[in-house]
Every structure is written in C-alpha cells, then in structure tokens.
C-alpha cells in the first residue's frame, strides 16, 4: 500500500474538491439540523473536510433510496406502455467524499448482494458511476466497533482514495485506477508520503483500535458457530421483551437492503408507477403472504432474523458478515438494545 501513498494539504484538498464539483455530482458530509448528513454539495465551503464520528444515516440512501420509482406505465386503449426510469435518467457521475471505512464496507456488501444471481441495474449503475473518497475517523465513538467487524478503521478495499487526517494534511492511499488518475491529473496538489507520515498514520490507527477494544466486543467472525447453536437460547426472549419492532435499526443500517414493492396509480387508473420502499424485517407484515399467514409472528424470531442475517446467513449467502460495526443500530435504538452486548452474551464474555 505504501507504494501508492501520497499526501495532500488541507488547502490542496479544498482546491481538488473545487475542481471535482465542476465535473461531478459531489456528495459529502455537511452539518444539517445539528448533525452530520451526507448531501449533494453545491457550495464547496459547506463541505466538512473532517467531522466527528459518522453521519446518522449511511450513504446507502444514494444507492438504494428510501423510496424509488422503478418504472412507470400508461394504460392506453387496451395496451400498456412501460417507461423505464433508469434509461430515462441514468445515474450521474458521482464523487462520494468523506465516507468512513465502515460505510465503504457497507457499499461493498450492497454491491455483492445486488449482483450475486441477478443484477439490480438501479443499485449497480449508481455504484459503478461513483468514485469513493473515504476519510478515516479522528476518534472512535463509544458505539464504534469496526475493528471487531474487520471493516476499519482503515478500509479493507472498495475505495478509490482513502484519506487519513494528520495534523494539517492528509495521507492519501490510492485504491484504484480511477483514484490514481485523480492523483496524476492533479500532480501539483499531491506529494509522496514519507515513512514518518506512514508511521504517524499507523499510530493513529492503533489509537482507534485501542479505544474500540474497550467494549470487549468479540470479533464478529468468531460468532458463526456459536450463533447457530444459540438459536433456541433464552436470551432472545429478553431482547423480545424490550424491542419495539420499530425498524430504526434497519433504516440506520448501511447493509439492510430489504424492500417492499407496490404500485402507485393515479385517480384515472390509467397511469401508474412501480415503487420500491425500504422495509423492515422487524415489522409483523414483512413476511405476510396473501393467505394471511405470517411466518415470523414472535418478536424474538424477528430480532433473530436481523442478527442472524448479519452474522450467519450473510456468510452463507455472499461469503462475508454483513455487520460493518458502525454502531448506528445502537445509537438509534429507543430501548437501548446494544448489538455488542448481544454478542458478548452469546460468547459468554463481559464488558470490561
């Protein structure tokens, strides 16, 4: 990795983003209503070059929007005309700036999921048209566990460039040909990183890891077998007592991708649209079939669905765990269910 390591100063980064805004749709972190939110950047000065922690909502909203029209149709004299939304408005070339290692892993999981048997052209074309420029966290939040999820603090891949803030400059890892083109196209802004810079970065990474180790969360990759044996464990009913089935953990999760599909039709019944909308496996209606049968009636079966999907089913399905350790589900849970505590109990370890 050192071979492709550069540095850029704060001023240089501002200049670079200024160039990018002219050519690309740039999405990055801004302050909105007192919290960090990823938005399309119009004014480069609004962009946060660095920020504490992570945005409340992950960047999946740009790739799998909360609600999206798949296609529209018109019923004309007994015939039907279908208009594909995707070919009508293909995705813009996008730069995603400031995204954390955990969320980069989330995008990688989305990419695997939406291309494994069939290809979802909506999600994939957006991902393909996006250049990912990540920024490492300055500090680990109390809810962070990317280290235990093996997704951070440095990303395991899936980025074009990854910046590590050091004093008044950034160390730049190049992760792809597109990332390299950015460096080569703006040579005056970048310089080679020195071994000293890299040592500084490594010590920052160690600092973040040490902070995360304090939660004594087991490494997520070690839970698979124990979880399989624990499906009937009593501990699930404890969580079922508390869980409100509100679905906030799903909506805040960078890798929860499940959705519902329905048609929306205008009053004339002549024009309609097929719409997909985020859904939640915590909702009772999630598994309801036309006959009225509901396959996950017990709240504990729905809690298990989400956790087992992340840590067991996902390994069977796409080969990797799909919890990225961002901690958002812990932050948003109205009854303070902490996934790390669930994992500690499963593995029989205590918080330090």
């Amino acid at each position: 990795m050192n071979r492709d390591t550069y540095k850029i100063d704060r001023e240089g980064l501002r200049t670079l983003i200024g160039y990018m805004i002219r050519e690309y749709r740039v999405i990055g972190p801004v302050m909105r209503g007192g919290s960090v939110s990823f938005e399309r950047i119009g004014d480069p000065s609004a962009l946060l070059l660095n920020y504490r922690g992570k945005a409340l909502l992950p960047v999946k909203k740009f790739f799998l929007p909360p609600r999206e029209v798949l296609f529209e149709y018109e019923i004309l004299n007994g015939d039907v005309k279908i208009k594909d939304r995707l070919s009508a408005s293909p995705p813009e070339k996008t730069i995603l700036f400031g995204v954390r290692a955990c969320d980069i892993a989330g995008l990688e999981i989305m990419k695997k999921t939406f291309s494994r048997h069939f290809e979802d052209p909506y999600v994939l074309s957006r991902l393909e048209n996006t250049i990912v420029i990540g920024v490492m966290c300055d500090a680990a939040l109390p809810t962070c566990f990317c280290y235990q999820a093996d997704t951070g603090p440095l990303p395991r891949g899936g980025f074009d460039m990854f910046l590590v803030p050091l004093d008044d400059y950034y160390l730049v890892d190049v992760g792809s040909r597109k990332g390299m083109e950015i460096v080569l196209g703006n040579k005056d802004l970048f310089s080679r990183a020195s071994p000293g810079d890299i040592a500084l970065r490594d010590s920052k990474v160690r600092e973040l890891i040490e902070a995360m180790k304090k939660s004594n969360t087991p490494r997520l990759s070690t839970l698979y077998d124990t979880l399989i044996k624990s499906y009937e464990s009593d501990l699930w009913s404890d969580y079922a007592e508390n869980c409100l089935s509100c679905g906030k953990c799903n909506f805040a999760c960078p890798t929860c991708y499940c959705f519902d599909v329905h048609d929306e039709v205008d009053l004339s019944l002549k024009r309609g649209a097929r719409v997909r909308e985020w859904d939640s496996c915590h909702f009772l209606s999630f598994t309801r079939v036309a006959s009225g049968e509901i396959f996950r009636k017990d709240r504990s079966s729905r809690i298990k669905q989400r956790i087992y999907h992340k840590l067991v089913y996902s390994v069977n399905d796409i080969g990797i765990i799909s919890c990225v350790g961002c901690g958002r589900c812990i932050e948003v849970c109205p009854t303070s269910i902490d996934l790390r505590e669930v994992m500690r109990r499963i593995m029989g370890v205590r918080a330090l």
């Binding site: 296609f71 007994g78 939406f114 290809e119 909506y122 599909v261 039709v265 002549k270 097929r274 087992y308």
Partner: protein
Amino acid sequence: MKNPYIPEKAMIEDFRDETPDTRTFRIRILSQRGSKGFQFSPGQFIELTVFGYGEAPFSISGKVDDCSLEITVRRIGTVTRALFKKKVGDIVGIRGPFGRGWPVEKLHGKDTLIIAGGLGLAPLRSLIQHIMENRKSFGRVILLYGARTPMDLLYKEEIKEWRGFIEVHLTVDRGDESWRGRVGVVTVLFDEISVDPQNTIALQCGPPIMMHFVSKKLKQLGFPDENIYLSLERLMKCGMGFCGKCTVSGTYVCLYGPVFCYSEIRGFVEKIPEAGV
C-alpha cells in the same frame, strides 16, 4: 444491463373457473423469446403484473405451448381481485420463470407420491402433466389430494383423465350430500396406500399446517430426508434474491426454492412449520 424489473407484455388468452373463488388463466407471452419460447420446469413460478394494481408471484400450473402457460389463482388479495376482473385479450405483465422446481430427473425410474392440499395442487399439476406426457420414465405415481369441501376441489374434470395414468385418492375436510368419498385432512389418505419409502420420492405442497403433519407422517413411514420435497409459500416480491421478504433461515425461497428437499429444510437454523418438528 437488461432491467429485470420490467415485465414482459402478455395476454390473457382464456380462463375457466375451477371453484367459486379459484380460476385458471391461460396467458400468452407477446414478446419475442426467440425460437425457445417460454421454457420452465414444473414447480417454478412467475411474477404477474396487473397494471394499475401491482405484481404478485404465482406458481405455473400448466404448459400449453411454447408461448403460453397457465396459472391457477385464488381471489384473495388486491392483485388477484384485479386479475379476476380481466377479460380474454387483456394485457398483463410477466417476469420469470423464477426459482427451482420439482426434482424431475430424480423421479425417473422411481415411484412418486404427490401430496397436495387446496391450491397446493397448482404447482403439482404442471408436474402431473409432464409425467403423463413422459409416463414411461416414471414408476408408480400416486396423488393424495385434499380440499376443504367437494366444491373446492381443483381440476375436477382433469382428475378423471389423470386416473388413467396415475393413482388418485381424494378427501375433503367437510363433505356434502353428494360426496361419497373420504372426509378428513389429507393425512387420512395414507391408510389407503402402501409405498416403499426407500424407492419413493414424496412431493408436497399445501398450507403450512398440512405440510407440518405430512412431513411428520412421511418420517413415521420411514421416508429418508432426501426422498421428501416441499414447495414453500413465501412472499417472493422481487423473485431475484433482493427484497429479502421470502427468506427462510437466510435462504431465498425465490432463488433456491420454492421447492426444497427436506434435508435442506432440516438443516435450517430458523425453524419453520413445514418441517413438522
């Protein structure tokens, strides 16, 4: 990249009522699929769009020719109610076929025991049609079929014809004045037959509660797990392994099902009623 969410246009070619709330629709694909036409294996499903109402999954209940297929539908939800208002010649949308059907190859040279409840006979009808067309490849074939009342029995006329090719045993939950046959749930029919579990493949489709008891019964009779197959009903919204609504123990029913071998179901972490345990 072809957009797999966009349905192909198809036309309602014909329909006939099976029961007061169930109808078989013959649907012709209008788009060009080349010389291959619409190829499917018995037990697979399609996603059908009634424009203006929505899309829902239906198992394919029969083959007509290379461009036409049949589905048997109960009027129960929004899409099916709208479908029942459609006339011959009306346009609908179709995607698929999706999923994995019955293990047809595995049945060759073996005996086949088919157990169906209610509308569960629909995905098995396309298999029975295939067996009748290739009768010599299959050993003894027995159908055990149960419905709520005599009026709810599907394919009544066809079943008479099936009797010339396969053994048919019927039962109803509640009889009427004219009913002379068995009364009781489908498992009562097991006392009318004798099979060799080692050389028989059992295929079942019906309500979860029926499959729960049939699975139990088959295990009692000594059927090995590998000789039992079930078609699971789940909400296959997208059909492509994305929407997540049909998963069972993390396995996408739309991709790896709806037909599963009992040995797969027994291996699931998440317990399901159809497993019978």
